[in-house]
Amino acid sequence: MTDSWTVAGQTFTSRLIVGTGKYKSFEQNAAAVEASGAEIVTVAVRRVNISDPGQPLLTDFIDPKKITYLPNTAGCFTAADAVRTLRLAREAGGWELVKLEVLGEAKTLYPDMRETLKATETLVAEGFKPMVYCVDDPIAAKQLEEAGAVAIMPLGAPIGSGLGIQNRVTIRLIVEGAGVPVLVDAGVGTASDAAVAMELGCDGVLMNTAIAEAKDPVTMARAMKLAVESGRLAYLAGRMGQRRYADPSSPLAGLI
C-alpha cells in the first residue's frame, strides 16, 4: 500500500518536511535532507550577498528540481511584508506553493492570526497556494481553510523550543475539522514528538531545529523519518482503547 498525501494537487510520499536553517554547513544540511527522506524543504527569501557574490548557494547543494522548495515568510511581522516576500519568492522560484507565517512578536514567535488571515486572503486572490503556520486553535484553522489555505500548520510548541506537542486535544480537533492537510509545524524536539503528531492523525510534520541542533543531525534526520512513518502506521492501525486499570494479557482460564 502506498501511503501518500496531496497538497494543492501535488502528491508526496514523505510526510516529513524539513527546514534548511541552522546547519553547520550546506553539506551537512544536504546529508540530513537525504537521511530524512523529505521531498519538501522550507527555504527563506533574503537579500543576495552583494559584497561576496561568489559564496556557495543552497541550490548548489539541494537541487530544487529534485526536492520541492517551499519558500517561507520567516521574520515577517505584517501581512504586507509576508505577501511582498512571497511575490519575490514566486519570481525567484516560479512556485505557487508557499509557506505563510506572520509572527506576532519576537519573544514567542507566536503567529499573529489577524495578519495571517489577511495575508492568506491576499495570497489566494493572487493565485498562491499557501500552507499556513497558525495557532493550535480549531476555529482559526477553519477560518484559514475558508480563506483558501491549502494546508493548516498549527504549532506544537513555540518555534525552535523543542518542547513537543503541548496540546494534543486542539491538534486532534483541528485534524478532525479540517478538509485540507494538517501538519504540525514547530515545537518538535525529538522523535517521539513527531510520532505523537502523526498518531493524532496529522498528515505530516514540519521541523528544522530538532534536526539541525541535534548533536548528530544526520542520525536525527533518520530518526525523524522513522518516527513519522511509525506514527502514521499507528494512526492507520487504530490504537487500542485506554483503560483506567490493568487487563491481563494471558488467559485466566486453565490457571494451575
Binding site: F26, V43, A44, V45, R47, I50, L58, P71, L88
Partner: protein
C-alpha cells in the same frame, strides 16, 4: 554614447552605475546570475523574463533576493 552615471539603491545601499544598462546588466555587474535571483524595483516585481529589457533609471530602489536556508 552617454557616459553619465545613475544613482540607485540596491538592497538598501547606495550605488552608482553607468546609464543605459538593463537590470540584467546590473545583476551581472554585481556578480549575480540573473536567472537565480528575483528583483523588485521600486516595490514592484520585475518579471525575470524582462530583466534584460528593463532599463535602470536614476533614483531606482532595488531589492535583489534569493533562497537561503530557513525553517
Amino acid at each position: 554614447m552617454d557616459t553619465k552615471t545613475l544613482s540607485i539603491q540596491v538592497n538598501g545601499a547606495h550605488r552608482r552605475v553607468p546609464s543605459g544598462i538593463s537590470i540584467a546588466d546590473l545583476a551581472l555587474e554585481l556578480g549575480l546570475e540573473p536567472t537565480r535571483v528575483a528583483v523588485e524595483r521600486n516595490l514592484e516585481i520585475v518579471p525575470r523574463s524582462t530583466l534584460a529589457e528593463v532599463q535602470v533609471e536614476d533614483g531606482d530602489d532595488y531589492e535583489i533576493v534569493t533562497f537561503v536556508g530557513g525553517g
